[in-house]
């Protein structure tokens, strides 16, 4: 009995709340960054993450409102819809840059403009009349094995939502896939040297399409984290630049899934800081905008720190990133 009282005291402390919300806010970043990592490992730079996330968010939310099923089934269905929507957006990019060899940077920007805050996501949100009402079902803490009240570790590790556990499984899965499987090896070959991969009989085009689409699907799920857990409702442009932070995360993570997790939670903490401080009245006269700008400013700072040192060693970046592969011109 007394143990529980002590625990709830610690579990309400600032540090535990910040770490637990860092996981909450970091999860969409983690999904999107893992997706972008897969695409980039195949040599396709997709700057449309923000747009794919928003379309995933709006379609996932639509699915939850429409599916007339029990909470869990409906949420699982919504994730599938969000993933398909994100992958559909990625398909446009893949067609333009892989088949038509268009400029990857401009195509990705076009995708963000097409799908983003002023585009398709906002159109769908308005046309399907989604704004203004909360989600019928939302992801919430699962309280695994009733360990949610354990001091410190409870709220951080055991009282997270299914999305968080799914993202952890993905980090492990993608890590193993890249390092320990034949398709993972092939993928890395396609990203490093498509000409050699082609000579080995690996389908460069197929790998690039498949991983760009997988990236879009994960970005869609990342977007659904906002509309089905964090907010949880549909608001136009609710990702607020998370897609771009995810693109930057892949760079800080040196294209490694385990480091994506660390980076995502670091940035999750920056995103959680303003509301947590405000709730406690700890802003101390500093304008809340200063805290709200932290994730963006820190993205720039960390990017500078990583790029100045790593530029010389070129750590991790797939050698063929951003370069279309044309068999006749290799």
């Amino acid at each position: 009995m007394t143990a529980q009282v002590v625990a709830s005291g610690i579990n309400d402390s600032f540090v535990v709340i910040i770490v637990a919300s860092a996981v909450l806010y970091g999860t969409p970043l983690l999904f999107a960054a893992l997706g972008e990592l897969l695409a980039e490992r195949s040599g396709v730079l997709n700057l449309g993450v923000e747009g794919m996330m928003l379309v995933g968010a709006v379609m996932g939310f639509w699915a939850v409102q429409r599916l007339d099923a029990a909470g869990g089934v409906s949420l699982a269905g919504a994730l599938v819809v969000a993933a398909v929507a994100g992958a559909a957006m990625a398909l446009i990019h893949a067609f333009l840059v892989v088949t038509l060899r268009a400029n990857q940077i401009v195509s990705g920007l076009a995708l963000t403009i097409f799908a983003g805050a002023a585009g398709l996501s906002s159109y769908l949100g308005n046309d399907l009349n989604l704004s203004g009402s909360p989600a019928d079902h939302a992801f919430s803490g699962l309280d695994v094995a009733s360990l949610g009240d354990v001091p410190v570790l409870g709220p951080i590790l055991f009282d997270q939502s299914a999305l968080v556990y799914l993202s952890w499984a993905l980090v492990v899965g993608i890590g193993l896939y890249l390092a320990r499987t034949r398709p993972g090896l092939n993928l890395r070959a396609v990203g490093e040297s498509p000409a050699s991969a082609d000579a080995m009989g690996i389908g460069v085009t197929a790998y690039r399409y498949a991983h760009t689409l997988a990236g879009g699907a994960l970005a869609g799920i990342g977007g659904a984290c906002f509309s089905l857990q964090i907010t949880p409702q549909w608001v136009g442009g609710l990702t607020g630049g998370a897609g771009w932070i995810a693109v930057a995360l892949v760079i800080f993570a040196f294209w490694r899934p385990d480091l994506c997790l660390v980076g995502a939670y670091l940035f999750g903490a920056f995103s959680a800081l303003p509301s947590t401080l405000q709730a406690r009245g700890w802003l101390g006269g500093i304008p809340s905008e200063v805290f709200s700008s932290l994730p963006y400013v820190m993205t720039v700072v960390v990017l500078v720190a990583v790029s100045s040192g790593a530029a010389k060693r070129r750590l991790g970046a797939p050698a063929a990133l951003g370069i279309p592969y044309v068999r006749e011109e290799r």
Binding site: A102, L111, F114, G119, S122, Y123, T299, V304, S308
Partner: protein, 378 residues
């Protein structure tokens, strides 16, 4: 289906591709409309009507075209060197904030001369935009930091600055005196002498051409001369096409990055100043942040294939689309449709670019031997 690289690019394709892109984009748009249960025919007719033909439509189109003319030129200036400044949005905000701040200050000092206001606002707007662009420029030049992400992140910071100035503080930019200003957060209006004039085109039924649009056309002409007729422009082209050759030729990469990024930021900032002097007259944080002028500029520049002269008509066309979007916004014409349309046009332009570079051959030509075998077999 196969692609063959063209050895020379026929001239007619350079015009046919943008026009074809817009046509194909309209077809795709019709599909989107049908899929979401709207009739494309009437929607397009209303779109064109309220963009160009209805009473007062052209005046409204110029209001939307002017900001994206500037942000389009800003994007074209940088993208030509493969320097992806997508911070036009934030540089535009900063230009607007600086220009309004100075106009308010000069108003408080009792300045009365409109030309002085115009020059001062334009200069300070350009400087503010250039300063905001200098951050990603310096990071790119000296720390090799990807300018795409840094310039974009600064857009969000600039947006928060707007919110802070008008909503969350009692700053110099906020109206605290008028009745409306005391009821809800509002920007202070600049003095009337600081409003930029507009020319009434009587030949076109009194369409109002804002000063900013004229400035933008002049700027486009100057940019075209600089980019196609000077050593500076030539070096930018070489650096854009092949940074390695540029380095071997002894071109100073760092200096060019700084110069081009700051020029791009200055143009976007000047756009912000023109936006305030021509149309807005006060800082409106929500209005600025939901207009996406900076991002639209990227669409304009890409569709114009980064040619400053082509930016002018493209900005006019897309401005019509934006303005029709505002006018028609409602249940039949949900917001977001304009962004979808812009994205589609840009996708088609990118795909069209392929036709300029490659010849498309449909049908696989089988090797001779295989054909002969097939004939004997049948």
């Amino acid at each position: 289906m196969r692609f063959e690289r063209r050895l020379d690019q026929p001239r007619w394709l350079i015009f046919a591709v943008p026009i074809g892109s817009i046509a194909v984009a309209f077809v795709l748009m019709a599909i989107v409309l049908v899929l979401t249960g709207h009739a494309p025919g009437p929607t397009f007719r209303r779109l064109l009507d309220s963009a160009f033909f209805a009473n007062g439509a052209l005046t409204a189109t110029f209001v939307s075209s002017t900001p994206i003319l500037f942000t389009g030129l800003a994007a074209a200036a940088a993208f030509r060197m493969q320097l992806y400044n997508i911070g036009g949005e934030g540089q535009f905000y900063l230009g607007a904030v600086a220009a309004v701040g100075l106009a308010l200050y000069l108003g408080d000092r009792g300045l009365d001369s409109t030309p002085v206001y115009i020059v001062a606002m334009a200069l300070v707007g350009a400087v503010a935009g250039a300063a905001w662009a200098a951050i990603p420029a310096l990071l790119r030049a000296f720390a090799h930091t990807n300018e795409i992400i840094t310039s974009l992140m600064l857009n969000y910071v600039a947006g928060l600055l707007l919110t802070y100035l008008i909503i969350d503080s009692h700053s110099y930019w906020r109206d605290l005196e008028s009745f409306e200003g005391q009821t809800f957060p509002l920007g202070k209006t600049i003095p009337e002498q600081a409003n930029w004039p507009s020319a009434s085109l009587d030949a076109f039924g009194g369409v109002l051409l804002p000063l900013g649009f004229g400035v933008g056309i002049a700027l486009a002409a100057v940019m075209w001369i600089v980019y196609s007729r000077t050593r500076f422009g030539f070096e930018i082209q070489v650096i854009g096409d092949s940074p390695r050759s540029a380095r071997f030729a002894g071109m100073r990469l760092r200096r060019k990055i700084l110069a081009v990024m700051c020029i791009s930021g200055a143009i976007a900032g000047l756009g912000g100043a023109s936006y305030e002097g021509d149309f807005a007259f006060q800082i409106d944080p929500t209005g600025l942040q939901t207009s996406f002028y900076g991002y639209t500029g990227i669409v304009v520049a890409a569709l114009a294939r980064y040619n400053p002269l082509a930016v002018v008509p493209v900005a006019f066309l897309l401005g019509g689309l934006l303005s029709a979007g505002y006018t028609l916004q409602g249940a039949d014409f949900p917001s977001g449709l304009v962004g979808v349309m812009q994205g589609l046009i840009l996708f088609c332009a990118l795909a069209g670019e392929v036709l300029v570079r490659y010849r498309l051959r449909i049908g696989r030509r089988a090797p001779r031997g295989v054909e002969a075998q097939a004939e004997t077999a049948s």
